[in-house]
Symmetry: C2
Subunit: 279 residues, 2 copies
Amino acid sequence: MSVDGHNTYTPGYKPTHTTHHEWRTAENSAAYLLPYIAKLVEGDPNIKLLDVGAGSGTISASLAKYLPSGQVVATDLSEEILGRAKTFAETSGVKNIAFKQASVYELPFPAASFDVTHASQVLCHLDRPDKALAEMVRVTKPGGVVGVRESDLRTICSWPDIKEVRDAYELMAAAMDQAGGSGMGGRRLISWALAAGVSRDSITQTYGTWTFSEPSDRRMWASAMIERFKTGEIRERALRTGLATTGGMEEMIKGLERWMICEDASMGLVHGEIVIRVV
Amino acid sequence: MSVDGHNTYTPGYKPTHTTHHEWRTAENSAAYLLPYIAKLVEGDPNIKLLDVGAGSGTISASLAKYLPSGQVVATDLSEEILGRAKTFAETSGVKNIAFKQASVYELPFPAASFDVTHASQVLCHLDRPDKALAEMVRVTKPGGVVGVRESDLRTICSWPDIKEVRDAYELMAAAMDQAGGSGMGGRRLISWALAAGVSRDSITQTYGTWTFSEPSDRRMWASAMIERFKTGEIRERALRTGLATTGGMEEMIKGLERWMICEDASMGLVHGEIVIRVV
């Protein structure tokens, strides 16, 4: 879905939907990028990092700790969520961070402004991820890196194998596709980078995962999904566009409730990761 | 398939089928276990590690470097492959390693003999993975760990999305199931450990991946699959049991050949990983 050439964030910003976002850290969501940051900091402790589509800002604040003498700028299309990100950084005692409302399609920075430009779960919501990537490359200095990590909602490893749980993940992927994004963004990162004019030689691509296996993690993850199916924008979208019925979503919720209390349950969600070396 | 209560190794040991095995290292196939080994080595530099079902032995030799004052014992059911593992260790200059033919169901060691007991891609070939895990726990000292990593052939993230490539992975998973193992072993590790009598509290479970994205890695991976479909035991099994036709396998081979030369191609294969803290 496009508004004035921008994309909206399909899942929405209600507190019940962002609880899971606040679990996100540099360690569980940007580990692939940390060695590159460490190397750049070694060369210049005062490097600048841009976090695009930062949302709740927990990854931004977490990344800021890896460049204690450097500076992080976190942007998002939503002023509302940036306010929450700012509060989070303040209460976490992170001082080397600034916030700015901006679209990833038109970043309000001169070319070659940042040493590292990062996005997590942003491109999968866009109808022009290639254009966003080109803009991220533009604001990055030669010698710097762009790092992007996107989930792949059709590559999920879940046990016990419950049909209604599989249906729930497929609904999430289909809703992302239907909203103009991509439910399989994780695996498309190289193709998006090539479309953005990046040469294949400048790209390193890996796959990472999120694991939900400990009882508290399973409950946190499944509860967030259940809340989305009960009151989230995905419910409204699914019913409006015929992706699912009320009854179907009830069954998915019951499946997730069964899954999260199984002693042997676990879930792995695959993410694609690319690092672009800017030249 | 069971022989005298043991399971055979479905893919077979022809050199063309083991090339990919020799790519395996502690870093790309046992990274989840390295922090546990480092901690144990800190407490006692002379620890002993058992690598069960070691096959070509490249992971065993690679693990041996993490305990330079310790000792690795590598076992396998096949004397033939252990001979190759021994040669590999010798040519790699790894000296703290010994080899012993053994079944994982009846390890020829007293209880509590090892600080670390490891297996990679072994349990998915067995009809009694729980029994094997119990035996691995038996030979491990209290305070030590058992680490197991198994692929999940039904959790594959592949781009471009080529139907015949998806069919190829499904055939591999189905052949594993058909042979008495599990094509979804990666996600079943906690359930197998519980069946082996391990308490949930003693288990840490994560998901990791193998990525094949660089041109040379894509070629290595796809070529190994193509060789299996052309001359491997999987071909004979698929035709004998009706899992695939000659024509179907030809299409899969063509799909893999197309995939491996795509500039934007990548593939992520999910692995389940568990660490059992032995008490």
